[in-house]
């Protein structure tokens, strides 16, 4: 198997937690993994991305070639569109629809949704609202992971293990909140794909 995933968002939105949860799950499944991140200047409110590659065979490049990504997970509606050149023809765009507006010329949400919906393989989810309903507005990134989980070739239980490992040190309550967030995201996609 192989999953090439682009994670997109704005510096500080927690895309690296999503990558870490998938990474831990992949390791438990004895898969190869490479994950490239952006550090430095862009983290100050700029656009940030992570290339996450999982495979049963050794992986050569740390970066995903254009047109080869199986999945884009974006925690912000405009940021997912930025990486469309990387997405393969039958890849999926899974995006949050709550905007992070920190620039003067940020487009209208209607224009963004129009572009997202023009893309056949898309999941557009209000992760912030779902996270809030699941008990923690700060878990919207894990809702996004749940929403993307049907497109990642790793057993769902392994992703749950990844969440447990990632948040375990911070207590059971946080683990359970995030497991709920993960499930809520997955259920949304199962109903809406």
């Amino acid at each position: 198997m192989k999953s090439d995933i682009i994670l997109g968002g704005v510096g500080g939105q927690g895309i690296l937690s999503i990558a870490a949860a998938i990474g831990l799950a992949a390791l438990k499944n004895n898969l190869h993994l490479k994950q490239s991140e952006v550090h430095g200047m862009s983290q100050r409110g700029g656009d940030v991305q992570s290339h996450l590659r999982i495979s049963s065979k050794p992986i050569a490049s740390d970066l995903i070639p254009k047109g080869k990504a199986d999945l884009i997970i974006s925690v912000e509606p405009m940021e997912g569109l930025r990486y469309l050149p990387f997405l393969s023809k039958d890849g999926w765009l899974v995006t949050n629809i709550t905007p992070f507006n920190n620039i003067a010329d940020y487009p209208s949400i209607e224009d963004l949704l129009k572009q997202i919906k023009a893309f056949p393989n898309h999941i557009a989810i209000d992760a912030d609202a779902i996270a809030k309903a699941a008990g923690s507005s700060r878990s919207s990134n894990i809702v996004m992971l749940g929403a993307a989980s049907p497109f990642i070739d790793i057993p769902y239980e392994r992703l749950e293990d990844g969440i447990r490992q990632l948040f375990g040190k911070k207590g059971d309550e946080l683990v359970n909140t995030n497991l709920k967030a993960l499930k809520a995201g997955r259920e949304f996609t199962e109903k809406n794909r």
């Binding site: 862009s42 254009k66 569109l81 940020y106 487009p107």
Partner: protein, 536 residues
């Protein structure tokens, strides 16, 4: 041994710890920062009491590492590529002194300038100082090279450069650890004058360094990091240096390469292997993440040999980092891009955080400068450089660490009065203090604003070398206390601060203003950890 999931930077740190390192010296700079940060977080480093404090700048770091080597122990020094310029005096001479304990110099290059002012290639430094370079292609090699580099350094009696680029520094993969080596014992150099670079001794040492070159080549020829991988189609031979090897192999299905490849990760160039490739193939393609260093060597000034393809003939773009697509194009393969980016997607440049004290400083400065006109603000390297962008549009220069003060001096000397410099606290102690001494000595009519957020902010909040002592340092350098003023950059002090700024800009001598407010990022983290501690 256990397998860890590590960034390239972290793999270097773990490799050095396991390879018997006694001390690491560094100044933060993207993409090198996480090497030291990993050592800070390492339980083993703590238990072994490995020295691991940040240095004031890259030169002090390099010199301290050399001092540890003098005392017989293994040391590592880390910085970003432009940090090597700051350390260059010590770095270049360290090849003449040679080492006692092994020294690894990690220089993290930033092709495509993700977080930098240029994309200089550190390999040129190592080449003209005639020391070996290790250039990993993946995280495991980054670990192995840091582990093995100390021994290489001790064997060849020179510092060894470990050169990485951004993508490897900041990409994670599984890394297999090795048995931990013991640290060296304290041991003085056998020749007490080895490190005394008086001309007579330096000349002798230099001949010794030249004499070591064949031994360095032997190491490269037999290095496990250099590999000759044969291929059937000899129309082309490919040299892939460091990370470029991965991008190359990404383009070959199931790793089956049609052409012979020289995977190159240890320099000086292994002459026999390069010659073999050259003699077997009709043309050579050179893939290197950075400047065309190998390409220039193979091509020669007159380019009279076989066709050499790379950055110089346009097969690969002359600037910018490599990636799988750039390499595919160089191989003549077609690149199938996905969809185009819709027009609705706008640029999202980085910006100063909401609640950041630098914001207040620039709002105050902009207001006062309305009386003088724009074009007179010299700034520096740090978060505040973002004030070059809207909505502030405040600054007119950002060149190198410390240049804000000295460029303001020169501009004032030319008649641009008043000239203003804006520098951060960590940049000031890195390279601004000597410039300020120049300004004191001639009472330059400049206003220096040291925007003190009590941290090294841009790289993620590392210790600022003179935390809480900026005022005293300025006073000690001789700044007139009447024109040395601390301010608090908050909305409620706006009018008061504007008044001070206006007064000091009118003053025809040197003023130093120190707006002081903790970085909003470190403030938030500190509050959170205080809250967590009180909950426990």
């Amino acid at each position: 041994m256990e397998k860890l999931l590590l960034l390239g930077d972290e793999a270097i740190a773990q490799g050095a710890i396991d390879g018997g390192m006694s001390g690491i010296y560094a100044y933060p700079g993207t993409p090198s920062t996480e090497i030291m940060e990993f050592v800070h977080g390492s339980k083993i480093a703590e238990d072994l009491n490995i020295h691991r404090l940040w240095s004031a700048n890259e030169k002090t770091a390099m010199e301290s590492a050399l001092g540890m080597s003098y005392a017989g122990k293994r040391s590592m020094v880390c910085f970003k590529h432009v940090g090597l310029n700051v350390a260059a005096d010590a770095f270049v001479n360290a090849s003449i002194t040679g080492v006692n304990g092994g020294v690894i110099v990690v220089s993290a290059d930033d092709p495509s300038m993700h977080s930098s002012q240029n994309e200089q290639d550190s390999r040129f430094y190592a080449k003209f100082t005639m020391i070996p370079i290790l250039e990993p292609s993946n995280q495991q090699e980054a670990y192995d090279m840091a582990y093995y580099g100390f021994e290489l350094s001790e064997k060849l009696n020179v510092p060894v450069m470990l050169r990485i680029t951004t993508r490897l520094a900041h990409s994670r993969a599984g890394v297999q650890r090795k048995e931990m080596k013991k640290q060296n014992q304290l041991k003085l150099p056998s020749d007490p004058r080895q490190f005394v670079l008086l001309p007579a001794i330096a000349r002798k040492n230099y001949k010794k360094l030249i004499g070591m070159q064949p031994a360095m080549e032997v190491e490269s020829e037999k290095s496990p990091f250099n590999q000759y991988i044969d291929g059937a189609d000899k129309k082309l031979g490919i040299i892939a240096a460091g990370l470029a090897f991965n991008y190359l192999m990404e383009n070959y299905v199931d790793g089956k390469n049609p052409h012979p490849i020289l995977k190159l990760s240890q320099y000086p160039l292994p002459e026999k292997q390069v010659a073999k490739l050259y003699n077997q193939c009709d043309a050579i393609l050179i893939l290197e993440d950075g400047a065309p260093l190998i390409e220039e060597m193979l091509r020669g000034f007159l380019n009279l040999g076989k066709p050499i393809h790379g950055r110089l003939d346009g097969t690969v773009p002359r600037d910018g980092e490599l990636d799988p697509n750039v390499v595919a194009k160089a191989l003549g393969m077609e690149v199938h891009e996905g969809q185009v980016v819709p027009e609705v997607v706008k640029n999202r440049p980085p910006s100063l955080c909401q609640g950041c004290g630098h914001r207040d400083v620039f709002e105050e400065l902009n207001e006062v400068l309305l009386d003088y006109g724009t074009g007179r603000v010299f700034s520096d390297i740090g978060c505040y450089t973002l004030a070059a962008l809207p909505p502030f549009n405040s600054i007119n220069s950002c060149v190198d660490m410390g240049a804000s003060i000295t460029m303001a001096i020169g501009a004032a000397d030319a008649g641009l009065v008043p000239a203003v410099s804006v520098i951060g606290d960590s940049t000031f102690t890195h390279s601004g203090m000597t410039g300020l001494l120049d300004a004191v000595n001639k009472n330059s009519p400049i206003t220096v604003i040291i925007s003190d957020n009590s941290t090294t902010g841009m790289t993620g909040g590392q210790t600022s070398a003179a935390h809480g002592r900026i005022y005293e340092i300025c006073k000690g350098l001789g700044v007139d206390p009447e024109h040395l003023i601390t301010m608090i950059p908050l909305k409620k002090h706006h009018e008061e601060n504007v008044k001070i700024l206006r007064r000091e800009l009118e003053y025809k001598g040197l003023s130093v203003l120190i707006p002081q407010r903790e970085c909003i990022q470190t403030f938030a983290r500190r509050k959170k950890s205080e809250k967590n501690e009180s909950n426990e």
